[in-house]
Amino acid sequence: MAKIQLNGKKITIKPKITIFDLLKRFKLNNKKVAIEHNGIIIPNNIYKKKFLKDNDKVEIVHFIGGG
């Protein structure tokens, strides 16, 4: 098991999971989102190649109402 910080919250994930797996777990794989992994923006064509490890910081953002 690995502990990561997702959108500021600590969560536990199975080892060797990718960003794609993480999105699937939160049912976000079909949504319009953008991902930052340890401060670096990850293009969506490499979600399946980006493995997560202990202490990683992931931010998932989307568009909300704003002026």
Binding site: K27, I35, E36, I41, E59, H62, F63, I64, G66, G67
Partner: protein, 257 residues
Amino acid sequence: MSKKNLKVANVTLKSRLIVGTGKYKSLKETAKAVKASGADMVTVAVRRVNILDKKKPILTDYLNPKKFIFLPNTAGCFTSEDALRTLRLAREMGGWKLVKLEVLGDKKTLYPNMMETLKSTKTLVKEGFKVMVYCTDDPLLAKKLEDLGASAIMPLASPIGSGLGIQSKVNISIIIKQSKVPVIIDAGIGTASDATIAMEMGCDGVLINSAIANAKNPILMAQAFKNAVISGREAFLSGRMKKNYFAEPSSPTKGLI
């Protein structure tokens, strides 16, 4: 200035009214107001996904990004670094390069931090972004933004969400006269007549959020703004009559009985 549609960077807009999507009671109301406004461009914010409440409806369930041009903003960013991070994420998400930059300087007034704004504009233009920039109504700084490659100059009429209307007509007029890129009033408009005044002055467009969302009937107010912007634009294009200090009768004096 012409009768043609408003064009920002390479995007042509049918409506000169751009609306924000914040502050509404519900997403349903947001969608209804946007539709009533006739706007084709809407501003949106970039925020963390609520990972704990996945069933909650999201903006894109109500506003289709294929039908409206989403203009990502940097609302809430107080440094160039934060603004750049936000817009780079927005570009990754949407794939578009047209964005609204706003770097705030003070929580109480939400006045733009122009030092950080200039810095960010330079970087974003270099990275290929088309930047519409929220700024103060200082003509010198507006010119500087244009020189740096801003796609639109968006001076405030008065503080964000204040509804005070255009407070510095002289400055706004100078900016309109000197700019070769569109000038869009962003922030401070309170009601439909404020938007008409802005358009009559020769602004290329107005961006409205609070004045619609905070109205008692936002959908009706959205429609009012749609008409106000059209009226103001048509009045501007018509070329208003000269002002006189004394009366001039409207009926002929010849043939009076």
